[in-house]
Symmetry: C2
Subunit: 326 residues, 2 copies
Amino acid sequence: MPNIKDVAKKAGVGIATVSRVINDSGYVKKETREKIEKVIKEISYVPNEIARSMTRQRNDIVAFILPNSTHLFFGELLYFVEEELYKYGYKVMICNSSEKIEKEIVYLDMLKNNRVDAVILLTNNDIDQYLDKKLPLLSFDRRFDGVPFVASDNYEGGVLAAKRLIEQGCKKMMFIGDDAQGDSTPVMTEVTKRRLGFLDYIKEKGYPEMINIEYPLGDYIHIPENIHKIINEHPEIDGIFTISDAVACDVIKELENNGRRVPEDVKVIGFDGGRSFLNLGKKITSIGQSPKLIAEAIRRSIINFYKKEEIENQIIPVYFQEGETA
Amino acid sequence: MPNIKDVAKKAGVGIATVSRVINDSGYVKKETREKIEKVIKEISYVPNEIARSMTRQRNDIVAFILPNSTHLFFGELLYFVEEELYKYGYKVMICNSSEKIEKEIVYLDMLKNNRVDAVILLTNNDIDQYLDKKLPLLSFDRRFDGVPFVASDNYEGGVLAAKRLIEQGCKKMMFIGDDAQGDSTPVMTEVTKRRLGFLDYIKEKGYPEMINIEYPLGDYIHIPENIHKIINEHPEIDGIFTISDAVACDVIKELENNGRRVPEDVKVIGFDGGRSFLNLGKKITSIGQSPKLIAEAIRRSIINFYKKEEIENQIIPVYFQEGETA
DNA sequence: GAAAAATGTGGAAACGGTTTTACATGTTTC
DNA sequence: GAAACATGTAAAACCGTTTCCACATTTTTC
């Protein structure tokens, strides 16, 4: 493959001149420029970005560590992040952790070696100690010490869900979700705030304290038996708010399998704002997060990384998404 | 950030020796090795992968150009490709083209500059002329001249669908899908074979020739009105095979909106084998592609790229996936 | 016990660019 | 006519590695 020297030799100029043409910097005579451009085409020279990034000390690559790009919301977020960063000349490296802390750690190491320009972190694991704070880290929906973050307004999401259920006449409400409270080192995730917003609003309005159910979601393979048990232990429940649409879906199926109608007998609200493509059934009522707004926020932070500016945490609004289950 | 020279100086050895320790190559005395390893830890040195890839002439990065990682099947394929390549030390760069040829071309250029080790191409656009055949290209479900490919056994998929519909007593069958036949430069995509397999089998069994409907899917935003029209113009149809589960979903919805029961009145078979997470309704009967097997095939080809071995095209089996719509 | 082989080490070139420095022209300006 | 400035080039230094080669030391072999 031809390099810059080949171009220079063939055009009869110095490599600096070629470099100036490529980078459109400094003074180059018009004829010289044209001659060089012609040679570049002729021998189909392409600058080696690897060599370039060595001296430039950046490579325009951003890594996104997330549990699973197959999960609908994460997948959409990934899509918008890629689209948004593309506009600004960045490429996105995808790192599926499958929620496994070991894979996250390996990736974090790899990325350090690769000198990526930024790492977007989406995890529920307690990896604080493995985070090299000198790395350009950015987290979504999670606070780590010294790491700027972007998050949905999860608390408000919980409030919106509670409001709706109460409006619809619910009296006994329940939250179903796993927000990593069971870990040996409990961390207050952003996601926990969904539950808190929900709880606070219900308390404020004088309704009976909700029942808080946590169960291990594991690797996004939901366990219907688990939900079955929960539902049957609490037949008085008439309103359910779940941690995600995926869980809501399992809950609704299980309710209907047990002869409880949704939304007539029990109302169910999910979280994420699922734009399901293959849904032949009811549309899930949900609290929506906007992957597009989140992606824009992430992009803003990453641009600021580059400018070495102070990076502010950003909270992105959520919205109530009408559906047929609450 | 410390570099290899800093390590060499601090350890009182030459950089070549440090390199040997890092890469575990050549001869190094045990004590020398230990001393160097100690220094590496002390100054927390990490090798710069960018510089490394310059001399190694490879960077262990594979790019995946695909229309949209949000599309369920593509998303799953991406997930498995990432997982599979991760095992072999590769990182995956994701490039959503949104089906836009311009974005594909820009990405192809970018990737050439970045000297990625391989480019996985998943596209329906006619980009043959823009493909630099010197690049380590690999395509999925699409044949380009001189580019090795991996594809599902699409023809067999069509056959399986036809078989099932006939078994279920269908007499008038229809194919719905857009396989880029309308383009100015018609290309025979792998996907077209789904239709051909379907058609051939129906003909062979002496059933009336199926009606072949093509409509523009556009950017994966399906147009219900379009489907509405198709369905009402052909009320005699009792069996439908669609290009994907996503289209099948739209078709089923539209059929039911028009008072035709699925599968009682019309049977519908999709393609992809949709593992929908948020589906509260019927499970779509489908011809399944295995993203895992495909990912493994892709990985095999990529490994062979590296070994400079001849790369064979690979056809991956499809399977019938039982559902509730046919 | 000398030659041959194995082991151990460092300097320098190479990878393919960017940036800096030094210098050579040509054009104004006073 | 010399100083100041603009325009352009060549050569060298640098980025952080790997690799080749030369050389030194130790161990094995006959």
